[in-house]
């Protein structure tokens, strides 16, 4: 051990035989036993600890140990982090800018309310170049229900490219035009990596292989799992196994989200909870699954209007906003005041104010 010989002599005199005993005593105990100051004891212990850990690290092949951050470093990291916009400004507002990277977002809703539409929109939006306000990433789409329609993604991507082209024309900047050269329909489609999982074993296998896949394709910034409830809701007699597998899945996804700075979006189904007097719709997969996602959105109907509610979020407050699914994807509801060409134009409502200013 690389300690000063005098100190070593004192340790031997006190009866310490192995490094393990030293570590077990702790600095205060050590200082009392040998008669050295607390700082010196701490120093000695740290040296010993490094030696021991050096051996352990060599045998384990090095693993990502827990990292410590100060809150300030975390703040800087969070502020520099990008968001994936959804093209629905109301939804982006209640989410605090859009879907956050490195966090798990869960979207729950009844069938047909628009969860897969949102996922397809996000898979296109994550690829928006940085000069237009996007994160310039690629997307992994894991489909368990078979509801991914390529033609629909083509429509959404075409609308997105058109929107960016209009922005570039309005602003006429160098990097905008350069970015547009690579941001085309073909490139968007070829950067959506699609996996079709038929049952929960394939889903588990795919999630275990995700870290490797993401290291190879380091530009992936979004992982969508469309229908995490579907393979787990049938054919499962052993509910405890299901809970255990779901927890393991959640842990894996958190690791993936943090290590690769990717946003993870899951879609969940709704189930009916039969209470004392009435039954309510709640997200499926049970209470313990509710802890897996950081941000939870619930989509529901109100007469014929689709609403999105932010149900759980660490930084934003609860809010409900209406949204629309148009031929061009996920959009805001048109406000009634600006409806002159509402049927005619199929533009993103966020663009409307600028165009009207130009006309004026």
């Amino acid at each position: 051990l690389p300690l000063a010989p005098a100190r070593r002599a004192r340790l031997a005199a006190a009866g310490f035989q192995t490094a393990q005993e030293l570590l077990e005593t702790g600095p205060c105990g050590l200082s009392k036993e040998i008669g050295i100051s607390k700082e010196e004891a701490l120093e000695a212990l740290q040296v010993v600890r490094q030696e021991c850990h050096g051996d352990a690290a060599r045998t384990a092949g090095g693993s990502g140990a827990t990292r410590k951050f100060t809150a300030l470093e975390l703040l800087e990291e969070e502020q520099a982090q990008g968001f994936i916009i959804t093209f629905c400004s109301a939804l982006d507002n209640i989410l605090g800018g859009g879907v956050q990277l490195s966090k798990i977002t869960e979207v729950c809703g009844a069938p047909g309310v628009g969860k897969t539409q949102l996922c397809m929109q996000l898979a296109v939006d994550v690829q928006i170049p940085e000069c237009f306000g996007g994160v310039a990433g690629e997307a992994v789409f894991i489909d368990t229900e078979g509801s991914f329609m390529v033609d629909r993604v083509v429509d959404v991507a075409a609308a997105c490219v058109q929107h960016c082209q209009l922005v570039a024309e309005a602003q006429q900047e160098e990097d905008h035009l350069k970015a547009l050269e690579t941001f085309s329909l073909e490139s968007i489609l070829s950067h959506i990596y699609y996996f079709r999982c038929r049952d929960y074993i394939e889903l588990l296998a795919q999630v275990y292989l995700l870290p490797e896949f993401l290291s190879e394709h380091s530009r992936v910034r979004l992982v969508v799992i469309d229908g995490i409830a579907f393979p787990f809701r049938h054919d499962f007699e052993d509910l405890s196994l299901r809970t255990r597998l779901l927890n393991g899945l959640a842990q894996q996804l958190i690791i993936v989200a943090n290590d690769h700075k990717a946003a993870v979006v899951l879609t969940n189904q709704m189930t009916t909870r039969i209470g004392q007097s009435q039954s309510t719709l709640v997200p499926a997969l049970g209470e313990s699954w509710g802890h897996a996602a950081t941000v939870r959105l619930i989509f529901h109907w109100d007469n014929s209007q689709r609403l999105a509610t932010l149900y759980k979020s660490p930084s934003q407050k609860e809010a409900t906003i209406p949204y629309h699914i148009t031929p061009h994807g996920f959009r805001d509801v048109q406000p009634p005041a600006v409806t002159q060409n509402a049927e005619g134009t199929e533009m993103n409502p966020r663009k409307r104010p600028r165009r009207e200013e130009e006309k004026q």
Binding site: G146, I188, S190, Y194, D199, I201, A205, L209, R233, H234
Partner: protein
């Protein structure tokens, strides 16, 4: 995929033997255990077990395709993507017709014409490709005993009089519509499970189930406690098999 034996996942022989002593023979058993249990069973270190996990996962994980490849594949054969219903406004709303490769559900109050629609679709599916059909056989699973062969011939004769001018053509069409009468949930499920081989051997291009709700409502009373779970179990199991068949063979269901 999940029931793949571990032996075929390229694990070493003695490892397979060791695992089979603990009754772990398929990929499914392997992946269902937690890391600690795997370490205990295989007797290897944490790092080694993670590598084993990756190996086994690779054996059952699905293949990757980019959305672009999917689009190219679809655009190669555009006409086979939909079965046109010959109702123009309906086709327009559905973007071409009943989509091949996915499940379509038709619901309505009684008497609106669901069974008639199904019968018409069966006729359409047997038509040759040049007339907008799928040129194949049809599997019709009937739970309400509402299928009438006479009505089938009537529709065929009146709708396409030039095509069905000879008796032989009519016989040909009726021969390719396979009708199965199932009256209980179990038999429906069994029938769905056994469809895979029939689809290949009879060159089936359309599956119709008329109707799912009737047989389920007959057998499962939702007021009884355990029945709700059993019912959804049955439904989701049937649905996932049907989805698999629809996607695998690119046929409408």
């Amino acid at each position: 995929m999940a029931a793949k034996k571990l032996r075929r996942a390229q694990l070493s022989q003695d490892l397979c033997e060791r695992l089979s002593r603990c009754q772990i023979t398929t990929c499914q058993d392997f992946l269902c255990l937690s890391l600690l249990e795997l370490m205990k069973v295989t007797g290897q270190s944490y790092y080694e077990v993670q590598k084993l996990l990756c190996k086994v996962s690779r054996a059952c994980a699905p293949k990757m395709q980019t959305a672009y490849e999917m689009k190219l594949r679809k655009s190669v054969s555009p006409s086979s993507a939909f079965l046109s219903t010959t109702l123009h406004s309906l086709d327009r709303v559905l973007h071409g017709g009943v989509p091949c490769g996915s499940l379509t559900e038709i619901t309505s109050p009684p008497g609106c014409g669901k069974t008639q629609f199904c019968i018409m679709l069966s006729v359409l599916a047997t038509l040759p490709l040049s007339m907008g059909g799928l040129d194949g056989a049809v599997i019709y699973i009937d739970t309400e005993s509402a299928f009438s062969a006479e009505r089938l011939i009537e529709i065929a004769g009146n709708r396409f009089p030039d095509y069905f001018d000879s008796d032989e053509k009519v016989f040909c069409m009726t021969r390719s519509i396979h009708l199965y009468r199932e009256l209980t949930c179990c038999s429906v499920l069994q029938r769905i499970m056994s469809l895979e081989e029939e689809i290949i051997s009879k060159k089936v291009k359309l599956i119709i189930i008329d109707s799912v709700a009737s047989v389920v409502r007959k057998e499962f009373d939702t007021k009884l406690q355990g029945n709700l779970a059993e019912r959804s179990n049955f439904l989701t199991r049937g649905a996932s098999v049907l989805k698999y068949l629809a996607e695998e063979f690119s046929i409408p269901v």
